[in-house]
């Protein structure tokens, strides 16, 4: 009888198998937690879990949960013209060119689905990955079409438009973040995911609201386009890859979610600093801080800067002048940190410990300029921006407008031409250097 019993058992197992094919395992439920470094700074908060729970609840009120993130929309934002809804932040702020690029990107990514729709073959449209809300909208459309066959609607155009104009909701972006970003950047964007401890440099901690890689001056917050650019380009020589495998819409959606995490983090820091143990969390303070942080982000574009007109060309004289500024103590004094040969071994690192820590509290060294690796971009304009406005969060200061003394003793302020001269000099340090990356290997292919 054993073979028959084994058949029976096997049959049951296979039946279970086919039923299980519909099985969708649950996604983990994560909760935001608090910024423990900040908590530790406030004696009233630290060690008082009731207070911490209170704060968590307040932040949840403003920002939702990792599964259902949501910006609280303040009433005066709805009154604005046009209405400001941070839940659709990037979408509302896209330029025409960006919108067109987004549509083109969607058209490429969903080419298969769009082709099937245009051929009228609604049944063979495949579910796209990381776009649950799009899929639900599509299924709804299919259902409507099925229920109203005679309706005067161009189903094909509507269907194609769904895919071409797709922009993810914050919830969907949050899920994409969980799958692609969370293991490095962590649940709250604290740069403390499981993988982060093995990385050098550490992933960005969004919570202080400081971002290095921007096209901004005056230590302003990044614009959407800055965050978008990082996702598109990656940051070479770090573990941050380029995410061009996703559509523009998905990347814009991710920037929305990153903004949410960052704004949450900044609000949290302000609330912890303002915390009054007797009064507790005050709704007015909460909303005030929230509005403050959001406004910083809304005003970011004001500090965007580029160069007017065509950028100048490098000449040997300009490079020489750049070298003078670099090396002179009364000039830009780059030598102090970057060293006489540009290898980042200046004495300030040894003498002044504050020059060796960044604003997130991690050790940092001045860039070895001979390597030719510039994480914020290697175009001349990128270097121009760095020298001009400094690098947010690091000891690299803004140089535009600083007081310099020429060799002949005249005092003046560092101007744009000086910045360009420094840029040309810095580029020359790596242009022909044997230390420049990527170095050609000693061994050749046999």
């Amino acid at each position: 009888m054993s073979r028959y019993s084994s058949l029976a058992v096997l049959g049951t197992a296979l039946l279970a198998l086919s039923a299980a094919c519909r099985f969708e395992p649950p996604r983990p439920i994560l909760r935001y937690s608090l910024n423990s470094k900040e908590i530790a700074k406030n004696a009233d908060m630290a060690g008082n879990s009731a207070h911490q729970e209170h704060l968590l609840g307040a932040l949840e009120f403003l920002f939702g949960t990792p599964q259902h993130p949501n910006f609280l929309v303040l009433p005066d934002w709805t009154d604005e013209e046009p209405e400001f809804d941070p839940n659709y932040w990037s979408l509302d702020g896209l330029s025409e060119a960006e919108k067109a690029a987004m549509r083109a990107s969607n058209a490429r990514a969903y080419a298969g689905q769009i082709a099937a729709i245009r051929a009228g073959d609604f049944d063979s449209v495949e579910k796209p990955r990381y776009a649950d809300d799009l899929w639900e909208d599509w299924l709804r459309l299919v259902e409507e079409r099925r229920a109203n066959p005679g309706a005067d609607r161009n189903w094909i155009e509507e269907g194609a438009e769904l895919f071409e104009s797709y922009y993810p909701e914050l919830t969907v972006s949050a899920e994409l973040y969980r799958q692609q970003c969370f293991h490095c950047h962590g649940s709250e964007g604290g740069g403390d995911g499981s993988t982060s401890q093995f990385l050098d440099p550490l992933p960005r901690d969004y919570r202080p609201g400081i971002f290095k890689f921007t096209a901004e001056q005056n230590k302003a917050h990044p614009r959407n386009a800055d965050l978008f650019r990082i996702l598109k380009e990656g940051i070479y020589t770090t573990a941050m890859p380029s995410f061009r495998r996703f559509t523009d819409a998905q990347l814009h959606g991710l920037t929305d979610y990153v903004k949410l995490l960052s704004i949450r983090g900044e609000t949290e820091i302000l609330m912890i600093a303002d915390y009054d143990p007797y009064a507790g969390i005050q709704p007015e303070t909460l909303i005030e801080n929230y509005r403050l942080v959001v406004d910083r982000w809304r005003n970011a574009a004001n500090d965007f800067f580029a160069y007017e007109g065509e950028i100048p060309e490098s000449t040997p004289e300009r490079v020489a002048h750049g070298r003078d500024l670099y090396t002179s103590e009364q000039g830009a004094n780059c030598v102090k940190c970057h060293g006489a040969t540009g290898r980042g071994d200046g004495e300030s690192v040894k003498n002044n410990p504050k020059d060796a820590i960044d604003e997130w509290g991690n050790p940092i060294l001045p860039r070895d300029l001979t390597r030719g690796v510039f994480r914020l971009g290697r175009r001349p304009i990128d270097l121009y921006r760095r020298v001009y406005a400094g690098i947010n969060g690091t000891p690299m200061p803004a140089h535009f407008g600083m007081q310099i003394t020429e060799k002949d003793g005249t005092k003046r302020m560092l101007d744009e031409n000086d910045v360009w001269d420094l840029v040309f000099f810095v580029r020359s340090l790596s242009a022909r250097s044997p230390r420049a990356e990527p170095a050609h290997p000693a061994q050749e292919h046999p």
């Binding site: 009888m1 058992v9 969370f182 499981s194 093995f198 990385l199 495998r245 290997p441």
Partner: protein, 606 residues
């Protein structure tokens, strides 16, 4: 005996075939009898039980891999919260690399080699040769106990800073040598290297013992060509270990020095890993990653033949017994196993066709690798020849042995695809490779192990395993194994890469999730189904039907001894008259003639 003591015992123990009729030794205590025993049978069983536990661990790693591939970034049940608490039970990317590294390492070094060579090698060699024990019983014991530090270290590596080793079981540098390259390369990799050193020492001790025993301690009349093919398989595997393992040990030390002393054997100059400068990682000297690959594969390719040749030997024996027919082509079988092993030393480069090695060398390796299919094919034909005209008894052991042949055909034929260098451009590091080696090692060797356990269980424990449970176990294992690994051929054709935690974001792999889910379900079913084996095996230890010496009516010498054999194995004089496959002999009173009995006159056999 009237000879002097020295001549009588050249090896310090009684010559083969000696009859032990009186107790020369004092009664051993429990520790010396069952724990630090020098009796080859006890050591064989120690390898068995430890190996089965390691099989469970390796299988659990595989379940983690299959879960992630079926349902990426979701909560893994049971193990998820234990292994990955910070993500809510979701496999982390670095955790995934650790899972497949440990799966491969455990399975190759801690399961298959110990179960095949450690268990059956130890148990069967003296018995099949008519010897009272191994040539070096104390070395044998040391061989088992040297394995334990290896086990200890590899299990400890899970808790190392950065987690377990995560550079693949192949441990290619610079990923494995540079601490900043992978979390597992912080300290876990050191444990891996040390662990494998101990495993290697243990294997070497065993290999020396096996070869010596086989060469020197055969019973009178037992020529080389009268040994069962199991012994041939074990001897060839032992020779492979002897010649190849030192290379791995040396390479392991080189990698350890690279990691600890920054010696730079394998790290090229100017390598910058995860912002660690070349100077910090020992890259200043200028090594070459390909050196590791050559050294590693020089051992690991013969190692895969160690994983399969003993199984081939066992399968030959099992088929012959249960088909009641001599092995077809005994000498070709023995020669082809030797040819596989010999050729196996000159094909290691087929793992490196894409590695950056000089492609002209690839042509040589391609030819040699394709030619290895020849002796393997000859073996398959001979097994078919054995079944032809046979009188097959259907039982669990026979089913597993026939399944080995069926699965080995698939595994061996798929090897021809990847031996061919132009197709290998596409196939290398895809799931076609995974399908191939799992067919030969799991669907092949592990099935042979199950069959061998059913077949030799009566000899080991004096009881039979339950046939009903055995058949249930076989059917489910067979079905689920094919469900898991056959589909991997398809995935390989689609170009799905190995070792990829979430392949579906690539457009080219976007539609592969349903098939991966099917495979995962079959894998979970396969793991679950082993319950039947566990119940059968452990239940039969205590409740199995008791049997005498030779329940299968088999010819080879081990069935002459009591079940289980006592100390010294045989209770009568052993003299061998012919080969071990005299089944269906015309004119004989029964349908088998044991090796210790003469054949009827007029029948010639070697």
């Amino acid at each position: 005996m009237t000879t002097t003591a020295l001549e009588a015992k050249p090896l310090g123990i009684d010559p083969p075939g000696t009859v032990h009729t009186h107790h020369e030794h004092h009664e051993l205590g429990f520790i010396r009898k069952y724990i630090f025993s020098t009796d080859h049978k006890v050591i064989g069983l120690q390898f068995l039980f430890t190996g089965l536990v390691m099989l469970l661990f390796g299988g659990l790693m595989a379940m983690g891999i299959r879960w992630q591939l079926a349902f990426p970034w979701t909560e893994m049940p049971v193990l998820g919260k234990v292994l990955f608490p910070e993500t809510g039970g979701v496999v982390t990317p670095e955790g995934y690399t650790m899972l497949f590294t440990m799966h491969g390492t455990l399975m190759v070094f801690f399961v298959i080699i110990p179960l095949l060579t450690g268990t059956f090698g130890n148990f069967l060699i003296p018995l099949m040769l008519g010897a009272p024990d191994m040539a070096f019983p104390r070395l044998n014991m040391l061989g088992y106990w040297f394995w334990w530090p290896g086990i200890f270290l590899i299990l400890l590596s899970f808790g190392a800073e950065g987690g377990g080793p995560a550079a693949g079981w192949t441990s290619y540098p610079p990923l494995s040598t540079v601490a900043s390259a992978a979390p597992g390369s912080l300290t876990g990799q050191n444990f891996w290297l040390l662990s494998l050193t101990f495993v290697g020492v243990s294997s070497m001790m065993g290999a020396v013992n096996y070869v010596t025993t086989i060469v020197k301690m055969r019973a009178p009349g037992m020529t080389f060509f009268r040994m069962p093919l199991s012994i041939w398989g074990l001897m060839i595997a032992a020779l492979l270990q002897l010649f190849a393992l030192p290379v791995l040990t040396a390479a392991g030390f080189m990698q350890l020095f690279d990691r600890v002393f920054h010696s730079g054997f394998f790290t090229p100059a100017d390598t910058i890993v995860n912002s660690a400068s070349p100077e910090a990682i020992g890259a200043a000297a200028g090594g070459h990653p390909l050196l590791w690959q050559h050294l590693f594969w020089f051992y690991s390719h013969p190692a895969v033949y160690i994983l399969v040749i003993p199984a081939m030997g066992f399968v030959s024996d099992i088929i012959s017994v249960h088909a009641r027919k001599p092995i077809f082509g005994y000498k070709p079988m023995a020669y082809s196993m030797s040819a596989i092993a010999g050729l196996g030393f000159v094909v290691w480069g087929h793992h490196m066709f894409m590695s950056g090695m000089n492609p002209s060398v690839g042509l040589v390796f391609m030819t040699a690798t394709i030619m290895i299919a020849l002796p393997s094919a000859v073996k398959v034909f001979n097994w078919l020849g054995t079944l032809w005209g046979a009188r097959i008894h259907i039982n669990t052991a026979m089913l597993f042995a026939c399944a080995f042949v069926a699965m080995f055909i698939i595994g061996g034929l798929s090897g021809i695809w990847m031996a061919s260098t132009p197709p290998d451009i596409y196939i290398h590091d895809t799931y076609l490779i995974v399908a191939h080696f799992h067919y030969v090692v799991f669907a092949g060797s592990v099935m042979a192990i199950f069959g061998a356990l059913h077949h030799w269980f009566p000899k080991m424990f004096g009881r039979m395993m339950n046939e009903k449970l055995g058949i249930i176990h076989f059917v489910g294992t067979f079905v689920f194994t094919n469900g898991v690994f056959y589909m991997m051929h398809q995935l390989g054709l689609a170009g799905l890469m190995r070792r990829t935690a979430d392949p579906y974001a690539y457009e080219v792999y976007a539609r592969l999730q349903p098939m991966n889910q099917f495979i995962s379900y079959c894998a979970f079913g396969l793991l679950f189904w082993q319950i039947f084996f566990v119940i059968n095996f452990f239940g039969s230890l205590f409740f199995g039907k008791r049997v005498g010496r030779n329940p299968w009516k088999a010819c080879s010498l081990e069935w002459e001894a009591p079940s289980p054999p006592g100390h010294g194995n045989f209770d009568r004089q052993i003299v061998v008259h012919h080969g071990p496959y005299e089944y269906g002999v015309p004119g004989a009173p029964e349908d088998y003639v044991p090796q210790t009995q003469k054949l009827p006159s007029g029948v010639g056999a070697h």
